[in-house]
Amino acid sequence: MSVLIFIDQSEGHVKKSSLEALTYGADVAKQLGTTAEGIVLGTVTEDLTALGKYGVSKIHQVSNAALNNVDAQVYASVISEAATASGATVIVFSHNQTGKAVAARVAAKLKAGLVAGACALPNTSNGFSVKKTVFSGKAYAHVNILSAVKVISLNPNSYKTVATEGTAVVEALAVTVNEPKVKITAVNKITGEVPLTEADIVVSGGRGLKGPEHWGILLDLAKELGAATACSRPVGDAHWRPHHEHVGQTGVQVAPNLYIAIGISGAIQHLAGVNRSKVIVVINKDPEAPFFKAADYGIVGDAFEVVPQLTAAIQKMKAGA
C-alpha cells in the first residue's frame, strides 16, 4: 500500500501543478498511514532528490527520451505498470492537460475509480470520498471511490504547495516503454509567459478595452503583478488577442488566487471559466455589469483611467514594502 504521484514535466522542469500534486499525495499518504512515492517520465534536468521536501520518500524515474512527449497510451501503460509493481493503492495526477489525457486511461486500465478535478483531501471516515468541482465550478460533489485502487486528479491551484525538509531517493525504474502510435510532428509552446492555468494572478480584458491597440495598459498591470494575461471570448474571436488566452466555458478554465477582469461584463459562460478564482476584482464602467455580483472587489469606472493608476499604486506599494 502506498500513494503514487505522477510528476509532470515539461522540457526537463517539473511543473508547478505537480508540486501541488506531490504535496496533496503526501498528505493523502499521511492520512492513510503509508508512504508517498513519485514517478517521473522522460529526461529531467532538475535535481529530483530535492522533491523530497514535498513529502515523497522515493521517486521512480523512467528517463527514456521517448517519453519526453506525452503519449496517453504509452504513459498510461508505464504508470499502471509502476503502480502495480510498487503496490500503490492511490494514484495522484494533476488535472492539467497531461492529467486529462492520462489519468482516465490509467483508471480504466487498472479498473480503478477516478475522481477527476478533485479540490480537497479525501474523507476516509466512512469509505473514501473525494470532493470535486462540478457544474463548471458552480457546485461541488463528494464522490465515493468504491474500488481498491483509486485515481485522483487534482485541480491546479486548488491545493497549497508546502515545502519542508527532506530528500527523496531517485531510482531508475525498468518498465516496458512501447513505441507510441501517435507521431508528434510539431510542438508550439508559448515561451516567456506565465502559463495561464498555473498563474497565481490573471489579468483579463474584454470588449470594454475597445481594441487590441489598447492592451498596453493591461500588459503593464500584468507585468507589475507578474500575472498571466487572458481575455473574454469576443476578444479572442475578434483576434484582438491570441486564442489560447480565451478563458470561459469553451476556453481555458482558470483558478488563480487573484483574477482581475477589465472591461468584461461577466456573462455566465465567462464566469464558468473563472469562478474558481479565490479573489475576483472587476473594473467596469457599467455598474449593472453582472460580473460585479461574482466579484469580491470592484471599481465602477473607466478602465483607461483606472488601470494605469492601479499599476502605479501597486508599484508604489511594492516600493514601500
Binding site: A101, A104, L114, A141, A186, K189, K293
Partner: protein
C-alpha cells in the same frame, strides 16, 4: 469509414444549480436540457463535416442514459448523423459509461470515436481516455483541429502552455474542443429527417461502477462586492494586500 460520436445530455449553461433529497440529487425542476456543447459544437459538427467531404462515411451517435435523453439525441440527429444508439441506464460513473460505449464501439468496428473535451455538468474529461483504453486505441485529448488524409489523421491538440501537431493512423479516439468546428443550427429538413432516423435502444452490459456520488454542495455565497471609488485605487491595492492577501 465509420464514426462514432458520443453525445451527453447536460443542463443548459445558464441553469440554476440546486440540489434536492438532502443534497444528493441535482434539482431538475425548470432545467432546460441541451446537448453537451463540446459534444455538439465540436465533435458532432466536425464529424458531419468529415462526412460531407466523404459521403461514404457513416456517423453513429451514442448516448448512455435513460429515455429522458431521447429528445437530446433527436436534436443531435437533426444536425446530422445516420443513426443513434442509446444505452439504457441511469448510472453516472465515468467508467461504467465508458465501458458501455467501448462495448458498442467494439461491436461496431468504428474507425473514429469523437467525444467532447468534457461535459459541462461533471467536468471529468474522462470518457474519451477510458474508452480509448478499453478499445486499446491511441487517444488524442483536447483536440482543436482534425483532418483526415486517407486513414491517417493530422491533429492539433492543446498541451500545457501550447499546442502540438501529431499524426496518427486510424482507429483513434479524439476529445474535441473549440477550434474543431463552428456551431451549426439544425434546419427544418434536418429536424424532419431526424424523426425517422433509427434510434436503437440497447441494454447495458454488466459492469461494476467504480464511483458513486454521495452528495452535492454549493459554494458559500459571495459576501458581496466591495466597491472602491475610481479615484481611490490606493484603497483597492491596500484591500488586496492586507485583507485579501492576494498581492
Amino acid at each position: 469509414m465509420k464514426i462514432l460520436v458520443c453525445v451527453s445530455k447536460t443542463p443548459d449553461t445558464t441553469s440554476k444549480i440546486a440540489f434536492t433529497d438532502g443534497n444528493t440529487k441535482f434539482d431538475e425542476a425548470g432545467v432546460q436540457w441541451i446537448i453537451n456543447p463540446y459534444d455538439e459544437w465540436y465533435s458532432l459538427v466536425r464529424a458531419i463535416e468529415l462526412k460531407e467531404a466523404n459521403p461514404a462515411a457513416t456517423i453513429h451517435l451514442i448516448t448512455v442514459g435513460n429515455a429522458d435523453a431521447e429528445p437530446i439525441i433527436r436534436k443531435a440527429l437533426a444536425l446530422g448523423g445516420d443513426e443513434a444508439i442509446r444505452v439504457n441506464t441511469d448510472n453516472s460513473d465515468a467508467y461504467y459509461i465508458a465501458a458501455q460505449i467501448a462495448e458498442v464501439a467494439k461491436q461496431g468496428g468504428y474507425d473514429l470515436i469523437f467525444t467532447g473535451k468534457e461535459t459541462i455538468d461533471y467536468n471529468g474529461s474522462s470518457i474519451g481516455g477510458m474508452v480509448a483504453e478499453l478499445v486499446d486505441s491511441p487517444y488524442i485529448s483536447l483536440a482543436t483541429k482534425f483532418d483526415l488524409n486517407g486513414t491517417t489523421a493530422t491533429v492539433v491538440r492543446e498541451i500545457d502552455g501550447g499546442e502540438e501537431t501529431a499524426e496518427v493512423a486510424l482507429p483513434v479516439v479524439v476529445s474535441c474542443q473549440k477550434g474543431m468546428a463552428e456551431q451549426r443550427i439544425p434546419n427544418m429538413r434536418g429536424i424532419m429527417a431526424a424523426r425517422t432516423k433509427p434510434l436503437k435502444v440497447v441494454e447495458p452490459i454488466a459492469v461494476d461502477a467504480l464511483t458513486s456520488i454521495q452528495s452535492f454542495e454549493l459554494p458559500p455565497a459571495k459576501a458581496g462586492v466591495k466597491l472602491v471609488a475610481p479615484d481611490n485605487v490606493a484603497e483597492l491595492v491596500r484591500l488586496l494586500h492586507e485583507e485579501a492577501k492576494a498581492i
